[in-house]
Symmetry: C2
Subunit: 137 residues, 2 copies
């Protein structure tokens, strides 16, 4: 039930073209795709890096959670996402150690990925996301 790898590091950016100048043009990472997430009011650029990804998050409305984070903290690293094989077991183990979770139970993305966030005040100021990928067909 321990995490097996870093799935992604998510970075809040003011605008994607400027961020891609650094991550794609200057550093040389490949841009796999960009995706609009209307639910969270962000546009996301995915740049694979080894077994992980760099995800760049640009807010698309001033009211989104990410926009508020950006206004308060400035651009920079937002969260790190750790991949687990069994998210329910991982969440239970965290609760057993008095770690506070933001999500009581896993949420599910369209592609079947199950995810949950640990509260930063239980994780030394770090926003930690857990991912359980859907079983492959």
């Amino acid at each position: 039930m321990s995490p097996t790898q870093i799935n992604h590091v998510a970075i809040v950016v003011e605008d994607l073209p400027t961020a891609l100048h650094f991550w794609q043009d200057a550093l040389g990472l490949s841009l796999q795709r960009t995706e609009d997430n209307p639910g969270e009011a962000v546009r996301i650029a995915f740049l694979p890096l080894g077994e992980s990804e760099i995800e760049l998050l640009e807010p698309t409305t001033p009211e989104s959670g990410i926009a508020k984070y950006l206004a308060k903290r400035g651009p920079g690293m937002h969260h790190v996402c750790l991949q687990v094989d069994d998210i329910e077991a991982a969440m239970q183990r965290l609760r057993d150690h008095q770690i506070e979770l933001i999500n009581e139970s896993p949420r599910i993305r369209e592609d079947g990925t199950r995810y949950a966030f640990v509260h930063p005040r239980s994780a030394g100021g770090v926003m930690v996301e857990l991912y359980e990928l859907p079983a492959k067909a």
Copy 2:
């Protein structure tokens, strides 16, 4: 010359035992070793995670750069380190794209690792480190 993987994510912590309660006990990562780095006045805990590592940095003096960062920003993610095969070429490519580096040329650790930092103001507020590991014997 593009980065091949995330080498580590470095996290500034107020004290290692509290941080290890979360990362080791509750999350289940393995503590590989801790190391004192008197030069940078930090104690570092290394927790391997897939092809990467989580590094927890605890300042050992109030004057260290990490202590000042902690006082100013609070605990949390400090930098992400990307592994490259040829750090000189990676640095040149960054310069060619008008990216500002903190180190003019690579610095070298005792184990032979060559490293350099990109200035966060050129990287959208993210502290990015580059690592070129020593060739294996």
